[in-house]
Every structure is written in C-alpha cells, then in structure tokens.
C-alpha cells in the first residue's frame, strides 16, 4: 500500500462533497479541492509509486514523471480557474460533474498501466457527458447523447486494443509503441477519437458549444489534452500522426472560417490547436515532444480564457451567433481585453504563451528538415490568427453595433479571466521558467530576433488579409456539414427507409399468416368438427361404426408387420 493519496482521488472527493454542501462551504470546497490536488500532484515522485496484481496483470495506479506532472498541473489549474469562473453561476450538478471530469483527466495523467488509464478514461467520458447535459436545453440533451455514443464507441475500440496488447505481450504497462498491428491500431484509434481526429472531429464542435456558458470552459480543457498526453506516452514518433495533425490543423481553420457561432468557432480552433500537438508527437524528437507538452499546457489556458470571454457574452446576452453580436466592447471592456489576450495567445503573438510553445513545434519540424510540415504549420499559424486571433474578437466585440449593451463580467468570472490572462502573458514573457517544467531539459531560445521578425510579418500580414477580405467573410446564418452528416442524416434516412420497407414486408407477411391460419382453421374444422357444441362433427370427431374401426386397425397392423419384415435388419 502507499502512504499517500492519489491526486485524482482528492478532486473526485471534492466533486462528491460539492453535491452535498451549500453556500460558503461549497465555494470553499470548489476552490480548495483543485489546490489540494495540485499540492498532491507535486508530491508524486518519479517512477511507479504502487503496484497491485489484478488477474494476471500488474496495475500501477500512480506513476510519476515530469511529463505526467506537467499535464496534471495544468488540469488542476484548469479545475481551479474553471471553478472560480463558474461557482456562482453554474448548477451544483455541473460543478460536481466538471470536477469529477477533471479528476478523470488527472487520473489518466498518473496511470502507469493501460487498465487504470481506461477506467479514468471512461470516467471522463461519463462526467463530460453530464457537463454537456447541464446545458439544459433540448439541443444540449441531443448533442450529449451523440457525444456519449461517440465516446463509448471510442472506449470500446480502445478496450479492444488494450485487451489485444495484454494478450499478445502479457503486459499492460504504458510504454512507447508504434501502430504496427491490429491491437496497437485499435489503441491509436481509440485515443485519436478523443483528440477529435478525422474522420470524427465533428463530435467536438457538435457538443461543446451546446453546454452551458460555464460548462464549455471545462470541456475545452480535458478530453483532447488527455488524448495528447496518451499519444505522447504511447505513440511518440508514430509517422501517421504527422498527417493526422496537419489535417486537423487545416480542418479547424476552414470550418472555423465558415462558422457563425462564436463558441463553435472556438471549438473548431481546439481541433486546429490539438492538430499542432498531434503533428509534433508524430515528429517525435525530444524538442517536438517538449513542444507538444508545452503547447498543450499553454493551449488549455488560452482556450479556456477564450471560452470564458465567450461564456460571459452568452451568460449576459444569451446569444452566441456572430450575426447577433457586435459592438460589445463598449460595455464589456474587461471581457473584450481578456478575449483579445486569449486571441493573441492562441495566434502565437510574441510575448504571449502561444509564441513560446508553438514555435518549438515549428523548430522541431525544421530541425528534421520536414519542409512541407514546417511550411504548412507556418501557413496554419497565419490561419489561426485569421480565424481565432481576429475573427473571434472582431465579430463578437467590434464589427457592427448590435445595439446590445450588456453588463461586463460578474466578479468571479472576471477574476478567473484576469488570472488566465496573466498566465498567458507570464508564460510568454518568462518562458525560461516554464521550460524547466518540460519533460526533456533542452536548450531552446524562443525569442531570437529572426523568429520574432518572421512571425510578426506572418501574423500582421494575416491581419491585413483579414481586413481586406472582410467582404468575403460576411457571416451567414448557417452551419457547415461535416462527416457527422453520415450518421445524423444519411444513416437516419437509411433506417427510416428500411423501417418503412420492413413495415411493408411485415404487413404482407401478416396477411399471408392470416390467410394461412384461416385456411388451416377451416381445414381443421372440417376434420375435427367445430368448437361449438351443436355444430356438425368433423371427420375425425364422428362416431364410426365398430366394423369400420376394426378394418382400419387390421390395415394398420398389416402395414406394421409388412414394414417390420421388409425393413433391412441391420437398421
């Protein structure tokens, strides 16, 4: 046994207590549980802390390393910031579910074996679905069901892979592998599904924006980034991931450009940002993995910040469509500024966290002479500024005057936004301190004059492109079809058509059965007589004369004897 508490259990206990407490005590638990968890995270030593034997497998519920602590740290910070942002506005059920969801993410961070990881993984799927449902609308209910089906399917695929690996190798230890056979492919697909990889990226932009204004802040952080951690632990240097990552990067940009809903724009840009990380994991060098981990850390902060600023707008105005918003900067200066800081950070503007982490990934691509990858990532950096860096704040806070004059953020939401804005800038200004937390100790200079000039040119001219191309980006009240059309419409229609056809076949079968039964009944009646007392007796129900009966018995006995003689004896 171990003499210390697994960090995830602290947050899970906090989530449970949240349900049964009220007012100040509840607030204290919501804010203190993540901090206590953070403290426990930093007490986890390197290596496996405890092992148990389950069936024939070695279970390692807590294993520490710099990488695992880094992810757990940002998840705990997120649970704290999200709790601060949400505790006065969100429903108790949502707060409890969100922290249990965060506990699942932290549990995955420290899982030393695949079975433990799977248990926490499923816990995340369960509680994140609850968070989506806490949106409380019929749209969020439907989206939550689609989300749950997708993640349960992903869980099954993952489980098939884990079982395959367990049977093949006799070990469920978490260690680097490549997708070479069926089992490892299943694990890779199961993990990638949670990273919102193609062809099922649509679940993310479908579900997250339907949650409550506070719920989507939590949702933005945990699922995709635990998938990133799992990929770093299980598939570093898997070449497939480079292509998958680049696809996600471009998918996120193009769909975000087409999108009208502010929170959905941010959801697509999660896919885009996770694409950068997945691509880095595919490159797989120490610098690339450092970049993926660092970018995940920075990304959680600025993405949560962006969802917070969008959440304040939805909370105050009840609208999230760009066509309905605009001009909000007049009465929401703090939300606007925090939203802009988040937008600059996601774009990787110098002096923000995004710059110090994303350039690491580009550098890793350059070091490996991956020209195409480097160039596409550079183009994507420009595209991020286009779709999230300017488009989001522009259409929400500036653009036209929508006539809306909402109040600025409530104090707790404001405090959470200021905290996360400060973190974005701190990591951007003092990257060296942050780099010490990364898994590999490498020399990396973020602010070389060459890089700063290159990225300033890239980003500022993207800005110019945005304003020159504004007429081409007029918002329309539309959504964009995605692969989920295949099961939301095509499959649905197929089922509908099939059920109509089956119904017709069923009706014909029914008529046929009825006719057959009626025929049999009349036949039976003619033979055995009708059921009514006075009815005419049927053939077999008539009273026969003794002579006829004796004759029939003689015929039957003769037939019996004949058969007995004729039949071959060996039978």
């Amino acid at each position: 046994m171990t003499d210390f508490l697994p960090p995830a259990l602290i947050l899970l206990a906090g989530a449970l207590l949240t349900l049964f407490t009220r007012r100040h005590l509840r607030t204290a638990i919501i804010l203190a549980a993540p901090l206590a968890t953070l403290w426990a995270i930093w007490l986890v030593p390197d290596g496996v802390v405890a092992t148990y034997t389950f069936i024939d497998y070695q279970i390692e519920p807590v294993e520490g390393s710099a990488l695992r602590r880094l992810f757990a740290t940002i998840f705990a910070i997120m649970a704290f910031g999200g709790g601060l942002y949400a505790f006065r506005q969100a429903r108790t059920a949502e707060l409890a579910a969100a922290h249990a969801y965060g506990a699942g993410a932290i549990g995955v961070c420290f899982s030393g074996d695949l079975i433990t990881m799977f248990v926490w993984w499923e816990l995340m799927a369960l509680f994140s679905t609850l968070v989506v449902w806490c949106g409380g609308t019929s749209a969020s209910k439907a989206a939550g069901i689609r989300y749950a089906i997708m993640h349960l399917l992903g869980g099954i695929i993952l489980k098939v892979g884990i079982d395959g690996i367990a049977v093949q190798t006799g070990s469920v230890d978490i260690r680097p592998m490549l997708a070479t056979d069926f089992a490892t492919w299943m694990v890779l697909i199961g993990v990638l599904l949670n990273a919102a990889a193609p062809p099922v990226s649509a679940w993310l932009a479908d579900a997250y924006p339907e949650a409550s204004p506070t719920g989507s802040v939590f949702l933005s952080a945990f699922t995709t980034k635990t998938a990133v951690l799992a990929l770093i632990l299980l598939f570093p240097g898997e070449p497939v991931l480079i292509g998958v990552g680049l696809y996600m990067v471009m998918y996120g940009i193009l769909y975000a450009l087409l999108e009208n809903d502010a929170r959905r724009i941010l959801a697509y840009s999660i896919v885009n940002q996770v694409g950068f990380m997945v691509c880095a994991i595919g490159i797989g060098t120490e610098l690339a993995l450092n970049g993926a981990a660092a970018h995940a850390f920075a990304h959680i902060i600025y993405k949560a910040l962006l969802f917070m600023s969008a959440g304040v707008v939805v909370y105050r105005v009840g609208k999230s469509k760009c066509t309905d918003l605009g001009g909000l900067f007049r009465t929401m200066p703090l939300t606007t500024i925090c939203g802009i800081i988040g937008a600059l950070a996601i774009s990787g503007f110098p002096l923000t966290s995004g710059f110090t982490t994303k350039t690491m990934i580009s550098q890793a691509a350059a070091n490996e002479s991956l020209v195409m990858v480097y160039m596409l990532l550079a183009a994507a950096s420009a595209g991020v500024f286009l779709h999230a860096g300017i488009k989001f704040p522009w259409f929400v806070f500036f653009q036209k005057d929508s006539g809306l004059r909402p109040k600025d953020a409530p104090w707790n939401m404001a405090a959470a936004m200021v905290l996360f804005s400060a973190l974005c800038i701190l990591i951007g200004v003092f990257p060296e301190t942050f780099y010490k937390l990364l898994p590999y100790s490498l020399e990396y200079e973020a602010y070389s004059a060459s890089k700063v000039v290159f990225y300033l040119q890239l980003l500022l001219f993207s800005g110019l492109a945005f304003f020159l191309l504004l007429p081409l980006m007029r918002r329309t009240r539309t959504i964009s079809l995605d692969t989920d059309w295949l099961w939301r419409v095509a499959l649905y229609r197929l089922v509908a058509v099939t059920s109509v056809q089956l119904g017709a076949v069923g009706a014909r079968m029914g008529r046929l059965t009825d006719d057959t039964l009626a025929a049999l009944k009349s036949r039976a009646e003619s033979r055995f007589g009708e059921r009514l007392e006075n009815a005419r007796a049927g053939v077999f129900a008539r009273a026969w004369t003794i002579g006829t009966t004796a004759l029939w018995i003689a015929v039957l006995l003769t037939a019996y004897v004949l058969f007995y003689i004729i039949w071959p004896s060996e039978m």
Partner: protein, 89 residues
Amino acid sequence: MTNNSKTDHWLVQGATIRWLWRIFIVVLAVTVLAQLILPVKGYFGIDGWFGFGAFYGFLACLAMVLVAKALGFLLKRDEDYYQDPTADD
C-alpha cells in the same frame, strides 16, 4: 464599425479608424523593413528571403479564405438543418 456619429464611442468614429489604418500600415512596413537590420535566418533558403513572412502569411490567408468560401458552397446549410421539426424548441 462604420458609424460616423459624433456621439458614438471614439473607437468607432471614422477619424479614429483612418488613424488606426495609418498606424497599422506603418507597423506593417516596419516589420518588413526590420528584416534589413535583423536578418531572418531561414531554415530552407526560401523562408529567409526578404519579406517572405509577410508575403507567405498574406497569401496563405487569401488561399484559406478562398478555399473556405468554395467549401461553403458545398457544405453550408441553413442553421436549423438538423433541427427536428417536431421538437418543441
């Protein structure tokens, strides 16, 4: 942001916007000219060319906007496309 009324917020008045454009253009010019003093060390040759970042950023955005526009014709649907007509909201 085309409101020219004097009573509206200073940030959206025509004069301010004209000034913002001027400042923006100066900043753009400075970032390109900065390359004369602070040479950009390209990794593959082409990315070290004068003004490559500016050129590439602009073109990449132009391409992405146009591709998105084209995709839009194919993929855009009315926003209640998925809504069940029998649902109550």
